[in-house]
Symmetry: C2
Subunit: 267 residues, 2 copies
Amino acid sequence: MKEDSWFKEFHDKSFYIAFRRNKLLKKIKSEYQEIEVFENEFWGKVLIIDGLVMLTEKDELFYHEAIAHPPLFVHCCPEKVLIIGGGDGGTLREVLKHNVKRVDLVEIDREVINVAKEFFPSLATSFSDKRANIITEDGIKYLKDTENIYDVIIVDSSEPFGPSSVLFTDEFYSLMRDKTSEDGVISSQLGSFIFHKNFIKKFFVNVKNLFNSSSLYKGITPTYPGGIWVYGIFSKRNSVKNVKWNNKLPLSYYNELIYKGSLFEDI
Amino acid sequence: MKEDSWFKEFHDKSFYIAFRRNKLLKKIKSEYQEIEVFENEFWGKVLIIDGLVMLTEKDELFYHEAIAHPPLFVHCCPEKVLIIGGGDGGTLREVLKHNVKRVDLVEIDREVINVAKEFFPSLATSFSDKRANIITEDGIKYLKDTENIYDVIIVDSSEPFGPSSVLFTDEFYSLMRDKTSEDGVISSQLGSFIFHKNFIKKFFVNVKNLFNSSSLYKGITPTYPGGIWVYGIFSKRNSVKNVKWNNKLPLSYYNELIYKGSLFEDI
């Protein structure tokens, strides 16, 4: 097997992880990004966007549980939820485990949704739920134009460079604040606890005071850089520490104690 | 720079991580194992034993906090502690943060201690604490021969093959039970939550009933396989869930909520 049958992701110029492409399943260039899917013997199917691992079948639950459930439990009883990005369907699947009435998912890239439907049915099954409404549009444009007001918004974007960079600005967080209800809650993926600390700190200092209660929190992500991912949580009324967790909802990895124990404000 | 200036650790035949050896600092073969130390631009100095990453300067705290503090807090007020293995000094450093009277560290390989003293002073500084007593001997032989009784034993071994395989048997856990006080508590490192589940399950089923209260628990370990490590905790009297955590003890990553939220008995 040739060297180029390994997919390598450099987390630093002196450190990388490598997955064997046991079978290349898809490689396309969409209007926005390069999308690749391959089969890896250990991790299952792997989704790569612009050279970065977005998910593997084996470990996607870690990320999706951590980004989705905390904002929903901080709110307590959300009815209308918006997901920005998240075109693979994993975050949507987690949100739909709650007693929500409607979930709008706004993904800019239709090809991500198509690839999820073709290769990741355990995530994309969520698209066919009656409460789910899939919109292929730019997230910021959608938010500016919509008259909808959401209880919870989850920003499940790609990395903060290229098309997603605008999703890490205070303008975008002000816009989300305006489009959420009085007790609205927002969560977002921010980056690696090990590799992206300076970026996350700068971002958080910039947006935290737009909300009554804001914090960062951590979750395990085996195939993301450094194994620990940082999420932001922002609440217009309730404290992000006073979470109304429903322990009857069966999750695989994330839980109330881990969420509370992982909250931090300084990085 | 040639390909062989990268250190690669395969976690599966289809997945590995790679560190650039920016500077090779030491490579020796001791009586027991091959020991290598190199400088990596991102992770700092890296200690490799028999081809596996034992620690990096940047992330060693995650592992050492997780293995050391839970058993000490489950016990509540340990005075005499034994560390089996742990020749790098990191676990000893964490134990000495508690109000203990004496810590015996039994490391089979004198060269590990020497390497720690030469290259990892922030860990090896613990060796010079007056309460610490360093013994270079086989852990099982020491335990069989000693008349000491310990409040807490921490098994900070290498992987369960080669010289350390005997440290994963019920005979060894029976021996530790006999050499601990009535309310004795034991912790041990067991392997990757992602890669070694079957081994850990078999081990745990085999030893858990030797103690009144037993569990597995998890901790983040960025440079260990899969980013999540499993530890065992075994208590002769107190429940391993009823931990008397002292929140005034400053830890960097591990805490009471994360410990409690990470406990699990099935794998």
